[in-house]
Symmetry: C2
Subunit: 427 residues, 2 copies
């Protein structure tokens, strides 16, 4: 029979021990940081009814990227492509009994059928942090931005490594409506062109605008809006979202966060459910200048599951782009394996005795690996070394009788005789 | 529009913060215990090609319970119903470069389309521990049994709470072949009857045997085998697996594990890939007398993915039955929420100042929740109380100026004035 493939499913990763140590170190920083903000962990099944994505998730994801199928009970289901609808569903299920504001986080794996490439896989893990039902919404927005910055700072990143670009969903529409007087049916198409602006040559960008019937005067106004940034907003205080952004920048300044955060009117974000603040965090490394993660305010999503809605703001930070970021800037590197002791056997028949000794040492807090009969001592030392274990205890008949064991440090060859109680975890 | 359902997909669970605290506490014991045995963590995508289950997983799972579908690239895939084929695939992928023996563990979620009931859900998490490529296989079996016992002991369980029943896959077949001289095509059917024996009335059991053409003499021999236990094996040393079990019991005795482990010839286990040791752990509680988890030796599974095979032994311990066990015996209970401090605002306008103070306290290691503008002080105290926070700092204009803050313990009403640096995490 032909052997089965050893490869993981296309566009996904197997996590071997070294990968897991890195992932765990990366996730540990997330857990620690968000818990200091009072966020509580949640989780949910990876399968959801597909309906919950039809309403508010981006059209591209649902029609082209979602993993969906019909189960044995004829239910149309999907592997979650993102966590926000699930979290909103869970909030709606315990709408009244959960004290507000609700601060929840999770690190789910999410699935999208994408062409795999750098920073883009079919399965990735994603830290989701959300605040629901804040009495003062802008304060929740500020806390979310503070948390987003603190997360990257917790890995040792500084304002030279990343930048958070913020905007407000209403501003662009207000500019379309009040300043450009653009027909409403054209807004989505023009917004998509703006979204691609940074990647387009100037001429191509102008051509696309023209094709949508944007006049030169209108294009000129768009330029002022995009390049003028805060100054444009100060001149146009009547625009919806304008005062919001100016206030937010003021508050970010009070919190000492302005070195990390900037207003960028071109930030839009793909999800249809955003209603206010939107933001996107970029790597500033010249060779890695791309979006790390983003989020925003989505005040209507809980309302899709309940009679009332609840204001909400949050973000999702993917592990693939984060790992690239951390490795590129040398903020987190491979984590060495850590086992305190290897027990080598002078005689294969001493295996049970070795397991017995290991029991004792484990109750003392040591991580101990026992040779499962590997043959000659030299070969067992090699096994320990290959496994990244630095100390070996050699067990023979005499040692079993005396309870005094030679413990060898492999790097130096130094050997000491110790009783079990004297063997401590490595430093 | 009709609101969408807030329920999780049938037969699955949402994990709210209290559920997650319990799960994390349960998993933390697993991580700690298995790492003391030198087991390394791994993980893999939840989607696998369906082929890897067709060969060796039980027929019932593949034909009736597997979640399978065709992806957008026409690949036949499945959500993993168990982890063993995946782990074997990963071992095969790095067969030569990984030092042996390989000790790997994971806590994946697995999916089976089952009728949900007590202890049975469509999604559950499962601790998998496996040893591959031990030079002395029986020593690996002994270590796996030791670990299985230690895991439950790590939760505080004793020999009054659970029992591990062991057997060897070959024994039953050897009895069929050498003692009963039963035609080989009848073995699977008779084995299935034995598997149900404990649940059947005596007459029904006898009828089923008779229907398969088992004579009264043969049925008599089966009784001696099942009831005689070790004594039967001692009388029949020529049976394959007989010496193995007698040796294993000896070694378990040396390790002090006999109070936890017993030989039970009726243990079979459902998976087709088992080749030697099989075991099943039972709750001994009279109202909860059922299988908690099990495992065994499967020496041919890696060979399905590689030119050579590698001996292997392991087990999978599900979270649903384990949680039942821990709660029934009161070994693990709900874990209280733990946030060190709540910052209440005398004035909603002080939100940014509160976030700034929280930043400082967080760098001191405190978990701090900030009121996001909840109105009157009494209402904010209520919010803190509902959230399980025991201390509240009250922030007003004067406090912002002086840097000295009243900190109130809600249970006692006691209030002290502290500088930020004097506020410590709760005990």
């Amino acid at each position: 029979m032909q052997p089965l493939s050893t490869q993981p499913y296309k566009g996904t990763r197997d996590f071997y021990p070294a990968d897991m140590r890195f992932r765990e170190a990366m996730f540990a920083v997330m857990h620690k940081t968000v818990r200091r903000y009072g966020f509580d962990p949640i989780d949910a099944p990876i399968i959801e009814p597909i309906d919950i994505y039809l309403a508010k998730t981006s059209e591209e994801i649902v029609s082209q990227q979602i993993y969906s199928f019909v189960d044995r009970g004829e239910r149309k289901v999907a592997l979650r492509p993102e966590m926000t609808p699930t979290v909103s569903r869970m909030v709606a299920a315990r709408f009244h009994e959960t004290p507000k504001p609700i601060r929840w986080y999770s690190i789910p794996n999410v699935w999208r059928y994408e062409q795999p490439g750098k920073g883009r896989l079919r399965e990735h893990w994603q830290l989701n942090c959300d605040i629901f039902g804040a009495a003062t919404e802008s304060l929740a927005d500020l806390e979310i931005l503070n948390l987003a910055v603190d997360l990257l700072r917790a890995y040792g990143a500084t304002d030279t490594h990343f930048k958070v670009y913020i905007s407000h969903r209403s501003i662009l529409n207000a500019v379309f409506k009040n300043e450009l007087r653009l027909a409403e049916e054209k807004w989505p198409a023009v917004a998509r062109i703006l979204d691609k602006r940074a990647k387009l040559k100037r001429e191509a960008y102008n051509e696309l605008l023209k094709a949508e019937g944007v006049s030169e005067t209108q294009a000129q106004e768009l330029e002022e809006f995009l390049n003028g940034k805060e100054d444009y907003l100060k001149k146009k205080p009547h625009l919806e979202g304008s005062a919001y952004i100016l206030d937010m920048l003021q508050n970010l300044s009070s919190l000492g966060l302005l070195p990390f955060v900037e207003y960028d009117p071109s930030v839009v974000r793909g999800f249809d459910y955003y209603t206010g603040l939107v933001f996107e965090v970029f790597d500033t490394h010249p060779e890695n200048r791309r979006s790390l993660f983003g989020g925003g305010r989505y005040d209507n999503l809980v309302g899709a599951f309940a009679k009332e809605t609840l204001n909400a703001v949050g973000f999702g930070m993917g592990d693939v782009t984060l790992e690239d970021f951390l490795r590129t800037h040398k903020l987190l590197d491979d984590i060495p394996r850590r086992v305190d002791l290897f027990i080598a056997l002078l005689d294969t028949g001493l295996g049970t005795e070795a397991l017995k000794l290991a029991q004792t040492l484990r109750t003392q807090g040591l991580a101990v690996e026992v040779s499962l009969g590997a043959g000659k001592l030299g070969k067992q030392f090699q096994e320990a070394e290959k496994k990244g274990i630095t100390r070996v205890l050699i067990l023979g008949e005499d040692e079993v009788k005396s309870g005094i064991y030679p413990v060898k440090t492999l790097a130096t060859g130094e050997q000491v005789k110790l009783r079990a109680a004297e063997i401590l975890p490595i430093g």
